[in-house]
Every structure is written in C-alpha cells, then in structure tokens.
Amino acid sequence: MSVFEGFKFRYISSPIHRRDPRVKFLYVLVMFIAAIMFYELPPLLILFLLQIPFVLVAGVQRQWVRSLRGAMFLTTFLFAFNLFFGYISPGTIPGGMSPLEYAIAMSLRFLVLVESFSIFFLTTSPDHLSLALEQSHVPYEFTFAFTTAVRFVPVLAEEAQTIMDAQKARGLELEKGNFLKRVRNYIPILIPLIVSAIRRSLELAEAMESRGWGASKKRTNLYVLRMKEGDFLLIIISIILLVTAIYVRYFVPLPTLTMLLPK
C-alpha cells in the first residue's frame, strides 16, 4: 500500500502543482529518456539530485520519501538481479564497469524513474490530468474511463475493508493455512468486491446517461488549460536537460567509478 501512498495526490498549491500537466509530462518524459540513455553512475546520480529542488518547491517531500521507500523492495530485487548476472556473464556489462557499480547504477536508474513519476502524480490532480488528456485530443471516452478508474480506487479500497470485516465476523481467518489455502481465503473477499464494482458501474452508467452523457459530439469544459510563464520556463528547463543529456552522451567520455576512486 505504501507504494500507492507515494503517488496519491493531495490538494495543495505550489508553483509545481500549478504547472500545466502537459508540460509536467514533458518533463517526466525527458527525465525518462535521460535516465534510459545513461548507465554510468555519475550522470544518474546527477539526474537523481536534480529533481530534489522540484520536490522541495512542491512541498511533497514526505510523500516523496514514502514513494521511494515503497520502491525499495523492487530496487533491492533489481540490484541483486543485476549483480548476480553481472558476475555470471561479465560480457553483458559495458566496458570498464565492475558488476557492483553496474548493479548500483541500474538501481539508481530505476529510482530516478520512480522519482520523476512520483513528482508528476503527487503534484497533478486527476481532474487536471483528464483535462490535459482531453485537450491533447485523446477521445473523451478513454479520458473518462481513465479518470473514473483513478477516482474509484479509494472507494474500492474502503469497500474491500468492509467486506474483509464482514467475512472476518463470520470466522474467516485470512492468515491461516498453507499458501494455496491462503490464496483461496481471498475468494470470499474478491467475489463480493467484483460483484459490487460491476453493480456500481452499471448504476454509474445509468446515472450518467440520465444526466446527458454523450448528448453532444463536442464537449466544452469549465476550465481550459492555458500555458503561463512558469510553464514555458519548465519547457525550457526540460529542453536544456534533454540537449545536455544528448550532448554528454555522445561527446563527453564518462568516467567509471573505478577510474574516479584514488588507487
């Protein structure tokens, strides 16, 4: 659950929160590309540190730390996996790097990705996100399905809790038995959950249709996204970042850790 906590939006206002979601997405995309381009430790470390000012300006450091902590399990797995295969077949590792350094770099790359996505979701309201999708000409049906899915996650989580309570009150012990039995213990929880989700979606569809959903081809919006100075600034920052990353990748020889460390 803690992983999802790290991505859950809270309504606060900051220069980062107010940015156009499309611009923020561009930024995430640039981060993504940059992180994928490098496998060396120093640039990945720089990318990781570069984002910390964003987190601080947005004031979401607590949730951000939680999202990183939530990603720790997968990171550890990635680390162990890369280290293991690095030793088994050293040929797969780019020249000059030790398996340990490579494993650390790969884990860090994953953390950079988690970090940027976490910033995006922590500072972008689902409403803004759907607006952005809509104004990027994604069909409204898809946009709506997407935002509804996001919107109903907490409702479903609460319902799952109630169902769990109801079945526990009938003597169900979730943590009892061997692995197979434990998996089967979840059937009495999953079935009511799925049934009520389907029921709810049908009711929602009827309620929406009775309020004229899909009545006109062209929808208008109460809010319209408009770029402001801050948005252009973020675009410029993103482009500079991308250009620098490409330049460094192709024209600057990057040292490995073994070369940096004093002999």
Partner: protein, 274 residues
C-alpha cells in the same frame, strides 16, 4: 456480558470516533444504539467483536479483553450482521452461504447440515436452498445474511442498520423476529436511525453523539424527551409527537407505540364522556 470501559478510539486517518465510552450489556438484553451519522455507533459495535480494538481503555466479552482473543474466537460468541448483505454474499447457493461460517468454525458435517436446515427455516428461506444468493431480492438477501450469522447460534447478535432498504412488511417481520430472538434469551444489539422501529420494539436505548453516550435507558424515557432528542439530532416517534402536541389535555407524553397510544386515548375519551 459485554463491558466497555472508558474506550477511546481513533482511526488511522486521525478521526477520533469514540471519546471515552463506558457501558455494560447484560446477557439477554435488547439494546438499540442510536444517534446521527458519524456519532460513532458502528465504531462502537465493531469493538464488541474485536474488528476494532480500543486505542485506550478496554472491552471485555465474558470477562476476556478483546485484545487477548482473535476475531474468529470472538465471532463465535458475538455474531455481527453487516448493513449491506452484498458485502458478504459470495457463494453459489444460499445453502453454501450459510455453511461458510460453520465451516470456518469447524462444525462437523452432519451438525452443519442440521444447522443450515434450521437457519433456512428460521428465516423462511427453505425454498431458496439451492438458489444463488445473487438472484434474490434485496430483502431476501438481507435474510440470507442474517441466517448465515444465526446459523452458528452466537450468544450475542449485532445488527447494523437492519431496517435500511426494507419495505414496511419486511420491517414488521424483522421486528417480530428480533423480539422473538430476544425472548429466547439471545442478547440483541441493533444499530439504527429508525426511531419508529425502535419505538415499536421498546428496548434499552443508548443514544450517541460525537463519540460519546448522551443518554442510556428505557426507550419510553429517552425517545420522549425532546431535550435529549435534540442533543443527539433524532426526532421523537410520530406517536410521541402527537402526545407532546396534546400536552394541554394533560395526557401522558411518554407514549411511544400504537397500542399504548390507543389505550391512553380510549381512557381519555371514556373520561370526557362522563
């Protein structure tokens, strides 16, 4: 016997739902817990079968703290029927649904069969034995949920909002059923907003507001007191409202049910004729 000793409860979200609640429910009592939404009613009864454990204070069921015993063990004694039957029904047949808890509690196969048959007839569901619970009407699903709890014959039965979504006739059947259960010695606790329903049952009423108990006593005393009702945001039963309105005639005002009202009014008419 359930004893609640100065229980405080705060949800992980930081909402303080119970602020020092103390009460005791004796064996065989019939209790209605009332109050407006968010008063802490459901939070309180969830303490009785250990679904929630007090943040401070303690709850004793037959002398054992709910902290020292598993929910499953407690559930054997304290049955809890949830508000929405759709939150528990999952089996292919009604019969299987009722057997679910019995299986969890480790009943033997033939005892289980007997109990299922008994519970089915108790709630008039025998004809639906092999029907899918999802095919039944709302009222019937509610009865299946009730049967699935009564099947293991718990000493205490808690019903969360039993009257919601029930038509008038169903409500009356439910009322008679609950009264009958109680008459057979079962401790019954209902959580409800339904003043009229409670007035017809006349149990002990525990009134809650903002996580605390504001009144505890006979239905006649509590439901007819406009001052207490106001504090817990409930409205006295319609019968009582008539008598409160007729206070000038020097009629009693602590009347809550139809038969009592009829008696009082007839007596008054007899008196005025003479």
């Amino acid at each position: 016997m359930i004893e609640v000793k100065d229980v405080h409860f705060t949800y992980p979200t930081g909402v303080e739902a119970l602020k020092g609640v103390s009460l005791s429910i004796r064996n065989g009592e019939f209790v209605a817990i009332m109050g407006q939404n968010g008063a802490g009613k459901t939070t309180l009864v969830k303490q009785f079968n250990g679904l929630l454990k007090p943040t401070k204070g303690e709850v004793l069921v037959d002398g054992v703290s709910t902290r020292d015993i598993s929910i499953a063990q407690l559930a054997r004694k304290v049955g809890f029927v949830f508000q929405n039957p759709d939150h528990q029904l999952f089996s292919e047949t009604v019969e299987e649904e009722i057997a679910f808890a019995l299986r969890n509690f480790g009943f033997k196969e033939n005892t289980m069969k007997r109990r299922v048959t008994w519970a089915l007839s108790l709630l008039d569901l025998t004809e639906y034995r092999k029907t899918s619970p999802f095919m039944l009407s709302g009222g019937e699903r509610k009865r299946v949920a009730l049967a699935s709890v009564l099947a293991w014959n718990p000493k205490v039965v808690i019903l969360d909002e039993p009257t919601i979504g029930q038509d008038h006739r169903q409500k009356e059947i439910l009322r008679q059923f609950i009264v009958q259960l109680n008459a057979q010695g079962k401790t019954v606790v209902i959580v409800t907003h339904d003043v009229e329903f409670v007035a017809e049952c006349s149990p002990r009423v525990i009134l809650m507001a903002q996580g605390q108990i504001v009144a505890d006593g006979d239905a006649e005393r509590i439901l007819t007191n406009p001052e207490i009702a106001l504090r817990a945001s409930i409205v006295p039963p319609q019968i009582t409202q008539i008598f409160l309105g007729l206070a000038d005639l020097e009629l009693p005002t602590d009347v809550i049910d139809v038969s009592e009202a009829k008696k009082v009014l007839l007596e008054y008419l007899e008196g005025s004729k003479r």
